[in-house]
């Protein structure tokens, strides 16, 4: 029956059918979205409560706001680790882009022979778990007197993120229309001009996406930082592990700390959401 109606008036059924199951599916989507964000909302809420309200059962949802959690977090001198993380993430991201852009160019616009083998090699380095190299890395750092040195961490983070960036940038570069490059060549445009006026506009979102993802992965990294740094080069995630055993009355402080350390990634991720989505899907599937 409905098939018949559909065959005759293709637009109508979807309009008729949508309201009932549609409202249910919309509500379900909203419910799941809220359920996934609930722990983060709870973290934010708790971080703005006093320690007594934070540790109450049943939970105090409406409680007077308090900055005690943040105060005691910032009293514990978190600035050096936060600055170390910022340095490591920003500098390694810049290094990644400097190395990855020419490589991606060589792999897409003027592809070298066997370029896909090279791509496989880049990707395969991601299959090598960091933990399987951590001991020699530690021994090398020890012998070079580079333990607790943020520069050493930057080099490792650059190596860690380089394959992802090459992979993502290549997929964006492959989007550059060949006809436009040929036309530019025929018109006698210089290489720099071609790069600036034809290639750059296409891959700018790709560069932003790759940079964002490299920044996030460097900022989040724990294992290498934990093994290789102690006091002067300690990063924010290592600083956070100091809260692992903290119990009871410091819940607001733990939540404030977690929030502050996550804030740069949250802010960058929200601001560049579309690029993140585009970058992840392009990098992963193209």
């Amino acid at each position: 029956m409905s098939t018949m109606t559909r065959a005759r008036k293709p637009a109508a059924p979807s309009e008729v059918k949508k309201p009932r199951s549609g409202i249910f599916l919309t509500l379900l989507a909203w419910f799941i979205g809220l359920a996934f964000v609930l722990p983060v909302v709870w973290m934010v809420l708790t971080s703005f409560h006093s320690e007594e309200d934070a540790a109450s059962n049943p939970p105090a949802i409406v409680a007077p706001l308090s900055l005690d959690g943040f105060k005691s977090f910032f009293d514990s001198n978190p600035w050096p680790p936060l600055l170390n993380s910022m340095t490591a993430s920003v500098v390694s991201t810049i290094l990644v882009l400097i190395l990855a852009l020419p490589a991606a160019y060589a792999l897409s616009i003027k592809p070298v022979e066997k370029w896909s083998d090279v791509m496989f090699f880049f990707l395969s380095t991601k299959f090598l778990p960091i933990v399987a190299g951590v001991l020699p890395i530690y021994l090398i750092a020890q012998n070079l007197h580079m333990l607790d040195n943020i520069g050493f961490l930057i080099i490792l983070y650059t190596g860690m993120n380089l394959p992802i960036a090459v992979w993502m940038l290549r997929s964006f570069l492959a989007e550059v229309p060949v006809e436009m490059l040929e036309a530019a060549q025929v018109d006698g445009a210089s290489v720099t001009r071609t790069l600036r006026e034809i290639v750059a506009p296409v891959i700018m979102p790709g560069i932003a996406a790759a940079a964002l993802i490299c920044f996030i992965f460097s900022w989040n990294e724990l294992l290498l930082a934990r093994v290789l740094t102690s006091t002067t080069a300690q990063t924010a995630p290592v600083f956070l592990t100091g809260f692992v055993t903290s119990q009871g009355l410091f819940l607001a402080k733990v939540c404030a700390a977690s929030l502050v350390v996550s804030l740069p990634v949250l802010a960058a991720g929200f601001a560049a959401q579309d690029k993140l989505v585009q970058g992840l899907s392009m990098g992963a599937v193209r």
């Binding site: 559909r6 293709p10 919309t26 379900l28 989507a29 909203w30 799941i32 996934f36 722990p39 983060v40 540790a55 059962n57 049943p58 939970p59 190395l99 020419p102 490589a103 060589a106 897409s108 003027k110 070298v112 896909s116 090279v118 496989f120 880049f122 990707l123 395969s124 299959f127 778990p129 933990v131 399987a132 190299g133 951590v134 001991l135 020699p136 890395i137 080099i155 060949v178 989040n220 724990l222 294992l223 995630p237 956070l240 592990t241 809260f243 692992v244 009871g248 819940l251 733990v254 939540c255 977690s258 350390v261 996550s262 990634v265 949250l266 991720g269 585009q278 899907s281 992963a284 599937v285």
Partner: protein
């Protein structure tokens, strides 16, 4: 094969590689690639060769004089040591359940978000949030603010709903692996969802519309058109997820510190090397992890190969 087709597609030069690919030209093409390639080999491949060498050595930093060749001794220890075997088991169980769960959840949510509805952008933003929380911070949040038996949110909600006599389970102690797994699923589902959503939105809609007009049911459209189209996206998000979850250290370290039978291989290696200072045994365990990931990677590379073929159609 694929490489040749691809080269033709993107290369600006004519496909016959006579004058353009002269020796000098070839090196000019390779040059931009070399810094990245050399850097990557030095930073990521050489350490692993180091691990491979140390894995065949007796080397415990507590006994510096006993250093020497051990043959397969460390591997025998790793494969017979109860804790190491448990760690291998935990790694396999944790990785498969977490990846499958977050893949299924991610698929369901991606399908929900593929429809147009009021506030779709907002819901997507809400969904992405867990992915953007620093893993250690997320693990701390779950451990202290959600799971804690006395003042965690979960038991707090139970008290809110069932009153003072509500059950107050100790989530981590009762089911330590599930507690860790749930926290990882929460972080990785958004990643799966994002990739699958991108896959759904790249689906040619006119074909789906035509099928609907021809009388295909939503289930038929899903199994015969949506799933086949999503296959590469499903495979790749699953494999990328697996590669990251196999290496999970942050959640195990933060939530249980490897206690209660939750030590996975990365944590076991960390402990063997960092606390027990048994470099040889830690390296052998590292080699075991790599062998495991190579098995996953073999499937992954095959998938990627099929993607390349699709791209060059």
């Amino acid at each position: 094969m694929t490489a040749a087709t691809q080269e033709e597609r993107t290369d600006t030069a004519p496909s016959t590689p006579s004058p353009a690919l002269s020796k000098a030209g070839r090196w000019a093409r390779r040059a931009p690639l070399l810094p990245a390639l050399i850097f990557l080999i030095v930073v990521t491949q050489l350490p692993f060769i180091g691990t491979l060498i140390v894995s065949f050595m007796d080397w415990n930093a507590y006994y510096p004089n006993d250093r020497g060749f051990a043959g397969f001794g460390n591997f025998v220890t790793v494969l017979t040591d109860v804790n190491a075997r448990k760690a291998i088991f935990v790694t396999v169980v944790l990785t498969t359940t977490v990846v499958l769960t977050s893949l299924l959840l991610g698929l369901g949510i991606a399908l929900l978000l593929d429809r147009k509805f009021r506030g779709r952008g907002v819901v997507r933003t809400l969904m992405i949030t867990p992915f953007l929380v620093v893993p250690v911070a997320a693990a701390l949040l779950w451990k202290h603010a959600l799971y804690n038996p006395e003042y965690g949110l979960f038991n707090g909600m139970l008290t809110m709903i069932f009153g003072d006599n509500a059950p107050q389970p100790d989530w981590i102690t009762n089911n330590p692996l599930i507690a860790i797994g749930a926290a990882i699923v929460w972080q990785w589902t958004p990643f799966m969802m994002l990739i699958l959503l991108a896959g759904l939105q790249s689906r040619p809609l006119d074909v789906v519309e035509a099928a609907r007009i021809d009388g295909a049911s939503p289930w038929q459209i899903f199994t015969h058109m949506t799933l086949p189209h999503l296959r590469p996206y499903l495979e790749l998000s699953g494999l990328l997820g697996a590669i990251y979850v196999v290496q999970n250290f942050d959640h195990v370290f933060t939530i249980t510190s490897g206690g209660l039978g939750t030590a996975n291989l990365p944590y076991y290696i960390y402990q063997t090397f960092y606390t027990a200072l048994d470099y040889g045994r830690a390296s052998a365990a590292g080699v075991v992890v790599v062998l495991g990931t190579i098995i996953i990677a073999t499937f992954a590379l095959r998938t990627v190969l099929s993607l390349f073929q699709e791209e060059s159609r």
